[in-house]
Structure formats: C-alpha cells, structure tokens
C-alpha cells in the first residue's frame, strides 16, 4: 500500500455530515438571500428609521430622536406646547382591535357550522365542498372587496332590493362605515376559519359523541361539553388565522372604510403619504408587528399546553 491514512472512529462520518450540512446551506442560500434582502432585512432598517427625525418633505433627517415612538401615544399641542394624548391614534387602535375581534367572532359563528357540515358529508363529497370554500380564498382579495362594495353601495344590490320591497325609502349608508369594514373582513377572511376547524372536526372521534348521547346528553350539551373541547385546537388556530390579518388589514378598510374610518394599516400608510412622518410610520409598523408577535406567541403557548394536556 502506497499511502494509508488513519482515521479516528467516527471521524469519516463526522466529515461526511459536515459536508452534507455545507451543501444543504448552499442549496438554501438563494432563498435565504432573497428573503433577507427583501423582507427580513428591511425590517431592521425600519427599526433604525423609527429613531430618526422626520424630513420636511417625507423621508428622514439623520438626527436621533425618540419622537417617532412617543408620537404614537402623545403629541405636542401646537399652541401651548404641552403634551396631550394622541386621541386620533388611540381611537384607531381601538377600532382595529374591536373590528378584528368582531370579525373573528363572526367568522366563528359562520365558519364552525360550515366546517362541521363539510366534515360530516360522505367522504367522497368532502373534497368538493372544501374546494368550494378554498377557491374564494385564493381569488384576488381586492376583487372580493370590490364585490362587497357592489353589494352595499347606496345604489348597490342590497339597497335596491330593500327599496323595491318597500322596506326603506332612502338607501341606507353602509359604505364608509365600521359596519362595512367588519362585513368585508368577515367575508374575505371566512375561509381562513373554515379550513382549520374542518381539520379538527375531521379528526374528531364520533364514538365519543355517541357516548355522550348514550349518557342522555342532548345535542346541545354534547356539542358544548364534548365536541367543542375536542375541536378547540382548530377553533384557536382559525381565530388566530383570522385575527392576525384583520389587525393588519389595509385593502379592505381602505376600499370599504374610506378616508375617515382608518384602521392600523391605513394609519401607517398615512405617515408615509400626507402625514410625512416616516419615523412615526416606522414605529407604528413595529408596534403592529409586535402585536402580531404577541398573538402568535400566545397561540404557540396555548397549543403546546393543549398538547401537553392531551
């Protein structure tokens, strides 16, 4: 033998594994680079911008300032320079939060029975019903919002029908109200509730429900005491999936809410447009992101506790 190289036990294996890791990282590199440059990285730049001073015509001056963050809650009175609560912002936060909660509750009321209905169909028909729910979800959000606008405009289908029947003489003003935003968001985010709840009902062991009936539980008691606790993971997942995009909604409130009924997303946009306060806009964006993170962390904690229990 010309040359013999000796290896420690496990050394070859470790080397092979290191090479494998390297090639896996290389393969992931394009995706990692793209997302770092055009999604994750810019978020860090935004943190920096939130600590700068607004420029006179938008953009920023490179001067450290905490005003971006403090302006979220307080603003300086123009006349006597005292600090006052930023009432406009607080009312927008309140609207975003309450409308997102209402949307979540409404999607629950309509989504849970829909998911139940689909999951209790014969197996060969389930795929079809699921498909029916999924298609609207993947169709254009703006188009679906426009469809709602067609429905609730002053000369829209609902008003025309009500006037024809004679229930009302004047069209009801539904556009540009909080009702319009809530209605629109419930419509566009409903499939996000149906799909996870369906997955839960699909896994439900119906023998447990039968046992409840055998023990003289009525349908309602069986639902409340047996079914509901069992499909809770799907309900929590669906609620999170609806609540998070509702909180950050931009298109639906812009089209249906108009210029007066702003939500969080529209308030952020305003700072980069007419408001010309980029640091405040950056701070508001980070605050929204924080709110979403809190919701996600709550979700992870609840689900891991459920798993630990079950």
């Amino acid at each position: 033998m010309a040359e013999t190289q000796t290896y420690q036990p496990g050394e070859l294996e470790a080397e092979a594994r290191a090479a494998d890791n390297r090639s896996r990282w290389l393969l992931s590199l394009p995706a990692v680079v793209i997302i770092t440059c055009a999604a994750a990285g810019p978020l860090l730049v935004m943190v920096l911008y939130s600590f700068l001073t607004p420029g006179d015509y938008g953009n920023v001056k490179w001067q450290f300032s905490l005003d971006g963050w403090t302006n979220i809650f307080v603003q300086r009175d123009i006349f006597d320079d005292t600090l006052i609560w930023a009432d406009a912002h607080l009312s927008i936060f309140w609207r975003s939060l309450s409308l997102s909660l209402i949307t979540t509750i409404l999607t629950l009321l309509f989504g849970v029975p829909t998911a139940w209905f689909i999951a209790t169909q014969p197996a060969n028909r389930r795929q079809f019903w699921l498909f029916l729910v999924t298609v609207p979800f993947w169709t254009n959000l703006l188009v679906r919002t426009i469809a709602i606008q067609e429905l609730i405009r002053s000369e829209g289908v609902i008003n025309l029908a009500l006037m024809k029947v004679g229930l009302i003489d004047e069209p009801i003003q539904m556009m540009f109200t909080d009702f319009a935003i809530g209605f629109g968001m419930t419509y566009v985010y409903l499939p996000l509730m149906v799909l996870p709840v369906y997955a839960s009902v699909d896994k439900l062991d119906f023998r447990l429900v039968e046992a409840a009936h055998d023990l003289y539980a009525g349908r309602w008691t069986a639902f409340r005491r047996v079914i509901l606790p069992l499909i809770k993971p799907g309900i929590i997942a669906g609620s999170i999936l609806v609540f998070i995009p509702s909180l950050g909604a931009y298109v639906t409130p812009r089209v249906l809410g108009g210029g007066k009924n702003l939500m969080f997303g529209n308030l952020i946009e305003l700072q980069f447009g007419a408001g010309r306060n980029w640091p405040l806009g950056a701070a508001l964006s980070l605050m929204l992101m924080l709110a979403v993170m809190v919701a996600l962390i709550w979700y992870v904690r609840v689900t891991s506790r459920e798993q630990a229990d079950g």
């Binding site: 393969l27 055009a38 999604a39 609207p136 254009n140 429905l151 998070i244 995009p245 997303g265 952020i268």
Partner: protein, 275 residues
C-alpha cells in the same frame, strides 16, 4: 368509523353528526361566499353605464377594458412581474426544499425555516413600508427606477408559497427509488435529473402556480414599492375605485377571477392526485 356504528343502524334517522341549525348556517355561508362574486361577474356584462340597473347583455365593458391602453400596460406589467417573480421564487424554493427535507436536524435548519416563513408572519403592510424605506434610499442613491424593485419584492414573498407544496411533495416521496438508482450506479446528478426531479415535479408546478397567483393578486406591497407609472392590474383597479366606478372594473375583475380560479383548480388537481 361512525358510519358503521350500531347506533346508526338501530335508530334510523338519528345521527350524532346532526347539530340543529348547522346545515342551514353552512349552506347560507356557502351561498353567501359566492353571491357577491356572481353579482360582480353578472354586472360586468351589463349594457348600461350604471352599475345598478340591468340594461341587457353586452361585452361592451370588456371591449372598452381591452382597448384601454392603461389596462393593457398594467396587464402586461402584472404578467411579466408574476412570471419572473414566480419562476425565480420557485427555483429558490425548490433548492431550499431539497435542502431542508429528508434529513435529520442539522445546525441552522430552524433558522432557514424561520426565514423562509418570515414573510407569512409579518403583516403585509409592515413589509410594504419597510421595503418603501429601503428602496427609496436605493432609488435616491442610484437613480435607478426600473421594475427590478417590484420583481425582487414579489420574489421574496412568493418564496414561502412556492416552498410549501414542494416541501409537502418531498416529504411524502418514496426515497427507495433514489436509492435504487444509486445502486444501479447512477451518479448523483443523474439520479436527481432522472428520478428525484420527475417525482417532485407536481410539487414544483403546484408551487409555481401558487406563487404566480400570489404575485398576480398582490396589492399592498406593489402599491408601496412601485415607482411612478408602474401600475399593475390590482393597483390600477385600486386607483380607479377612487374615481367614478364603471363596469369596466367589473370586467377586469372577472378576468382576474377567471385566471385565478383556473390556476387554483389546476393546483388542486396536482396536489390531490395520488401517485
């Protein structure tokens, strides 16, 4: 399964799966899900200018939209954008899926997962303004304002959508076929090209279509990243909504709906086919 349970045969017509009112609410919901879309489509064929009164069938608004240069321009830009972003994103997602599946945990895998899914975790409006900040600085610095910013931004948020079906496909794939190819002295590259790639192909096509639909539908990020005169179909429509709405918007909406529905149906067929 409960279908064969003795309870059902004994008490005919009594099923524990029935809950009072649930079917009614469900059917109402399913109808309500489609009714607004149907109304939108129907009114796109209205002869009259008014959105309210039906004045007879016509293709007038489709002809008007097709002849409108702003619409042509926006449609072309939407297509170029969706095709480039979806292709690049799918290639990157395919590579990343190959790297992150079918292996034991390796250092950094969690980080790669987190990064790939990051665009799904952050509200779109937040990503949009972050991109506005960064791209505005780059635009001022270089003076360059082509579509490349839109393509880069779209590629980034398309990656997680392309990644999901490809990863799902890889995870359910039969690894013994690749092992067999290697046993028969196929090189790594040959195995990949002749065995792995054909097997994962439905996942790749599904990922590509999903990414294409996502890019085509995007409003928020496009609205904040685009330079002057770079309207896509959705941002053009959003701009039109501020003015007088004519059934032309309905006609464009109908075409987008149709394109989306076709792609999603194909996606379903691809991902539900059992091989």
């Amino acid at each position: 399964m409960a279908e064969n349970s003795p309870l059902k045969t004994k008490a005919r017509g009594y099923s524990v799966k029935t809950l009072p009112g649930f079917s009614v609410v469900a059917l109402f919901t399913l109808v309500a899900l489609y009714a607004p879309i149907v109304i939108l489509v129907v009114y796109s064929f209205n002869q009259g200018t008014s959105l309210a009164v039906w004045e007879g069938f016509s293709l007038r608004w489709y002809q008007q939209a097709a002849a409108n240069e702003a619409v042509q321009d926006a449609a072309l830009r939407s297509l170029i954008l969706a095709i480039s972003a979806a292709s690049v994103a799918t290639v990157a997602a395919t590579m990343a899926a190959l790297a992150t599946t079918r292996t034991r945990h390796f250092p950094g895998r969690t980080m790669i997962y987190a990064l790939i899914n990051q665009p799904l975790m952050v509200p779109e409006i937040v990503t949009a303004v972050a991109l506005l900040i960064v791209f505005a600085a780059i635009k001022v610095w270089t003076g360059h304002t082509s579509m490349i910013y839109l393509i880069v931004a779209h590629t980034a948020f398309c990656v997680p959508f392309a990644y999901l079906p490809i990863r799902a496909r890889l995870e359910t794939m039969d690894n013994s076929l690749e092992a067999a190819a290697q046993d028969l002295y196929a090189s790594r590259w040959l195995t990949f090209r002749r065995v792995t790639l054909p097997l994962m192909w439905p996942g790749i096509v599904a990922g590509l279509m999903l990414a294409f639909v996502i890019s085509l539908d995007d409003v928020v990020i496009t609205e904040f990243v685009k330079s002057a005169g770079q309207e896509t179909l959705p941002t053009y429509m959003l701009g039109q909504l501020r003015r007088v709405v004519t059934p032309e918007v309905n006609a464009i909406s109908t075409v987008i709906l149709l394109a989306g529905a076709i792609l999603v149906s194909l996606f379903f067929l691809l991902t539900n086919r059992r091989v």
